[in-house]
């Protein structure tokens, strides 16, 4: 018994080490004066943080990324919520098709999606295919599965049919039913999906790099550029990304705990 519990602690210790050391190292590195010839940093400073956040490009790329993330979130929510509700209540026969179309993006690597969109829409000119709008649409494709699963789970958890019929009996039209009755009831699902999409798009590099690149530089592109010429400032940027990922994940965990349901696993192609 004792040996098996020792084994368990070794395994958990290994896992914690593997997961935490790179994060702690990156945070420490972003505050280190110099740390390439000694075991401990030669001193601490906030200079790298000041330098990197003072740049105009920092604010610009961060703004771009927030715009793309929020827009993608909105597109996904507006596209998925009415569709999932309608299929649930009126067209159950459409469900397998919608399931397929929302699962498909899992099987499309980012580079392949970028190539496919370029091949299809390049004929309409670079102004369209290399636009931020195209990036938002492409991000919406990879966001679909993350939005769809939590919304469907939320729909399954509530008695949608009774709610709909009750509202209709009271004279509500379809639009009113959806906005004032259904949406408030499946809000945890919509918010979960939206948070997953947000955290996914916030670190999205592949599509941004291949579709828009320097025309509309996003935060991850800026970060990759920095890794090539200034490691300390890059580490500050990486820490910002990690913090965003942490915050969205913690919000999700809290949300799911309050809703009391299991969380649909987030699996994305990185």
């Amino acid at each position: 018994m004792r040996s098996s519990s020792l084994g368990r602690w070794l395994v958990i210790g290994f896992f914690l080490t593997y997961m935490l050391v790179p994060l702690v190292a990156t945070v420490a590195f972003s505050f280190a004066i110099r740390w390439d010839r000694t075991i401990l940093p030669e001193g601490l400073t906030v200079a790298w943080w000041q330098a990197v956040t003072a740049r105009r490009a920092f604010v610009l790329t961060l703004t771009h990324t927030i715009i793309v993330s929020l827009s993608t979130m909105t597109v996904c929510a507006l596209l998925v919520t009415p569709t999932a509700y309608w299929a649930h209540i009126r067209v159950p026969r459409a469900k397998p098709l919608i399931d397929l179309l929302t699962t498909l993006p899992f099987g499309i690597p980012g580079v392949v999606l970028a190539l496919a969109l370029l091949r299809t829409y390049a004929r309409f000119g670079g102004a369209i295919v290399h636009s931020p709008g195209m990036l938002i649409l492409a991000c919406s494709v990879i966001g679909l599965p993350f939005m769809y699963r939590p919304v469907v789970n939320a729909l399954n958890a509530v008695d949608i049919r009774t709610l709909t019929e009750a509202a209709q009996t009271l004279g509500a039209g379809w639009g009113t039913v959806l906005v004032r009755v259904i949406v408030p009831n499946i809000m945890p699902g919509i918010v979960s999906g939206a948070l997953l999409v947000f955290s996914l798009v916030f670190v999205e590099f592949t599509l941004a790099n291949l579709l828009v690149g320097a025309r509309y530089k996003t935060f991850p592109i800026y970060l990759v550029e920095f890794t090539r010429f200034d490691g300390r400032q890059a580490s500050a940027l990486a820490v910002i990304s990690f913090i965003i990922a942490w915050l969205t994940s913690l919000a999700l965990i809290r949300l799911v705990r309050r809703a009391g349901g299991p969380r649909e696993e987030a699996i994305g192609a990185r």
């Binding site: 395994v11 569709t83 179309l101 091949r119 670190v203 990486a238 969380r263």
Partner: protein
């Protein structure tokens, strides 16, 4: 039920539903479908048509269609090696991810400390979402040539990682990918591990089986489909990854996604059709993995009742 309605209306003599009624029902059902049009148009324009365009375009060279010319050119050693490298990398990270992830998940599931259980699961949850450029950079800071852990190993333990090991190589990529593969497997296998009933283990031990025999004859066979499903999903996950590899190694490493991206940016003097052929081959591999995953997870669910 509804599916039979058109057949019935085509034979009005035996139908209890008058013809006009059925037509109205059909129009009603069509109008119900019409509310799905925005979503279906989106999926058609941004998923179906682009993917079919790439597949079709992989069979076209200089206006000739259909032709296998692009695939013939894709047998160039550089391209073949990119597939071999990617498959090796994906097999290694998926295999190690499955083994380590399952061990960790088992340790978490059997831990009696509730706090440890919840904290490690939450950590796995968050870590799965880390990836791409920031993760790659964290590994450069940790295990790069002047990285933090590299220094500690060298100065305290006298172990010199470099030049034998390089984080900017395929083995470095394996370590970086494991950072998201391992927690993903921890989460994927967790329901199946919790589904292993205590009674099964107790019954086999009572009947005189050793712990090893229990795992070999009962535990692992029951987990089999879930392990296979996990392997396929992790394989696909790694096969399609680009951002981590690009940040860590740049164009130095010959992987499928790196090659396709280089062809998109026009950095390489190769026929653009080769990118389409590579993309189509990747889609095929991904489709096999995802379909296999769905099949395996349906089978894995059988024991969960």
């Amino acid at each position: 039920m509804e599916r039979w309605r058109p057949t019935r209306s085509s034979n009005p003599g035996s139908s209890t539903i008058p013809r006009g009624e059925s037509l109205r029902a059909r129009i009603k059902s069509l109008s119900a479908w019409s509310a799905l049009i925005p979503f279906l148009l989106f999926a058609l324009a941004l998923e179906v048509v682009p993917i079919l365009t790439v597949i079709a375009s992989s069979f076209r060279t200089e206006g000739v269609w259909p032709t296998l010319e692009n695939y013939r050119e894709a047998t160039a050693p550089l391209i073949v090696r990119s597939f071999v490298n990617t498959i090796k990398l994906s097999t290694a990270t998926a295999g190690l991810g499955v083994i380590l992830g399952t061990l960790v998940s088992h340790a978490i599931a059997t831990s009696r400390n509730r706090y440890i259980r919840e904290a490690t699961t939450a950590l796995a949850d968050v870590a799965t979402n880390f990836g791409g450029a920031p993760l790659a950079f964290a590994f450069i800071v940790t295990l790069g040539s002047t990285g933090v852990v590299t220094q500690v190993l060298l100065k305290i333990f006298g172990i010199s990682l470099y030049p034998g090991f390089r984080i900017y190589s395929i083995s470095g990529l394996v370590l970086a990918y494991l950072y998201f593969q391992m927690p993903l497997m921890v989460l994927l296998i967790q329901p199946s591990l919790l589904g292993l009933r205590k009674e099964w283990r107790e019954a086999s031990l009572t009947l005189g089986a050793s712990s090893l025999q229990y795992w070999l004859r009962i535990g692992l066979p029951i987990l089999g489909p879930a392990l296979l499903g996990g392997f396929l999903l992790l394989f696909a996950h790694s096969f399609g990854a680009y951002a981590t590899a690009w940040t860590l190694t740049g164009p130095d490493i010959n992987l499928v996604t790196i090659q396709i991206a280089a062809l998109i940016r026009g950095e390489v003097q190769l026929e653009p059709g080769i990118a389409d052929a590579m993309a189509t081959a990747s889609l095929f591999i991904m489709a096999v993995c995802v379909a296999g995953y769905q099949w395996a997870s349906a089978r894995a669910g059988r024991w969960m009742e």
